[in-house]
């Protein structure tokens, strides 16, 4: 059955989302966002929306992480708050 996979992935998604806004290191946040996107991609694939999963994997987990890392590289690595 697929529902335990659903629940496990959903738990990890929430964990990643909470971690991404609490971690002070912005580079870590970028990587956590990447993990979040990849888990969302798994969720889309489980639900049968393969096209959306494909987009999420390439845009969310791939290119946007590179953009975030590039932005961190040119600004500061630690947040002020």
């Amino acid at each position: 059955m697929l529902w335990p996979i659903d629940l496990i992935v959903l738990t990890f998604v929430i964990f990643c989302a909470v971690a991404a806004i609490t971690v002070k290191d912005l580079l870590g946040t970028a990587i956590l966002f990447s993990a979040y996107s990849f888990l969302m991609c798994l969720l889309w694939a489980v639900m049968g929306a393969v096209d959306v999963a494909f987009t999420e994997a390439s845009v969310g987990a791939g290119v946007s992480t590179v953009f975030l890392v590039a932005a961190v590289f040119r600004t500061s690595r630690r947040t002020k708050d």
Binding site: V50, A53, F54, T55, S58, G62, V63, F67, F73, R74
Partner: protein
């Protein structure tokens, strides 16, 4: 203040979750979308467009107008990145290496111009020698990634994928080249002019196909009207029209992804980056 923000976020989230209670269940056959709309698409798409992937058919044909403006939005994102970040002023602190002797030059006077060529080589400020393993692996990997991207664009009609995904994958293969070597290696092969022209060409291909359908006597983006232009089976003309549109989207997205990356990572100077 932080506590107030937390309360507001919790309230908004709770309201949103409460709002989802009214939504139909996932895969509910009695939901309004599944009662007539989805059935209509599933029954008629194959005979109307001859495209097996229903998602692509809806995106590129039935909702082609939306996808055209999505492409325009991606183009505008690249344009905004260019206008906000691009910096044409020369840098004050520059480093050069005199190739025959290996001496490093630190140029602080902005009026001194050294043209990189056989004698002088431009060096990055935070230059780290690239790892041989990373360089070799990326050099082998990049052509395969690019072939895969072209496959995703070309097979958007038959399998998951399409212009957006293929364009992003092609763009990330170029970004990978910039990361594994350095930004100059990429900008030497893929110049800014090339990228800008490609970004605009992609949108132009999409809109051009729509206008061509109008010239042929149909409505905007009505690919069925292009049938006299191709010598093959006219039944497949909608699939071919979608393929043309997907190629346009792929070109635009590929160029815009590289433009955004290059402008962010080099603070708009296009000289040194990650």
């Amino acid at each position: 203040m932080k506590f107030l923000g937390f309360v507001i976020v919790c309230l908004t989230g709770g309201l949103l979750l409460y709002g989802t209670l009214d939504l139909p269940d996932w895969g509910d056959p009695a939901s309004p979308a599944s009662t007539h709309l989805s059935d209509d698409y599933i029954e008629h798409i194959l005979e109307e467009t001859r495209v097996p992937n229903l998602v692509t058919a809806v995106l590129a044909d039935y909702r082609g107008y939306d996808t055209m403006f999505e492409t325009a939005v991606v183009f505008c994102a690249g344009l905004a990145c260019f206008l906000l970040l691009r910096d044409f002023r020369p840098k004050k602190d520059r480093y050069f290496r005199h190739i025959p002797t290996g001496v490093m030059l630190h140029v602080k006077n902005p009026e001194v111009r050294i043209i990189p060529g056989n004698e002088f080589e431009h060096m990055d400020r935070e230059w780290v020698p690239s790892d041989r393993i990373i360089k070799t692996v990326c050099r082998i990997l990049i052509p395969f990634i690019q072939i895969y991207a072209l496959y995703v664009v070309a097979h958007g009609d038959f399998s998951p994928g399409g212009g957006f995904q293929g364009g992003v994958i092609f763009g990330s293969s170029l970004i990978l080249m910039a990361i594994s070597y350095n930004l100059k290696t990429l900008m030497k092969r893929v110049t800014e002019k090339f990228l800008s022209i490609f970004a605009a060409t992609g949108v132009l291909i999409y809109v051009g196909l729509g206008v061509l359908a109008m010239i042929m006597g149909g409505r905007f983006l009505d690919y069925g009207m292009l049938a006299p232009l191709v010598p093959w089976d006219p039944g497949h003309i909608r699939a071919l029209g979608m393929l043309g549109v997907e190629i346009g989207v792929g070109i635009a997205v590929m160029a815009v992804m590289v433009i955004i990356y290059v402008n962010i990572v080099s603070e708009g100077r296009h000289d040194e980056g990650l």
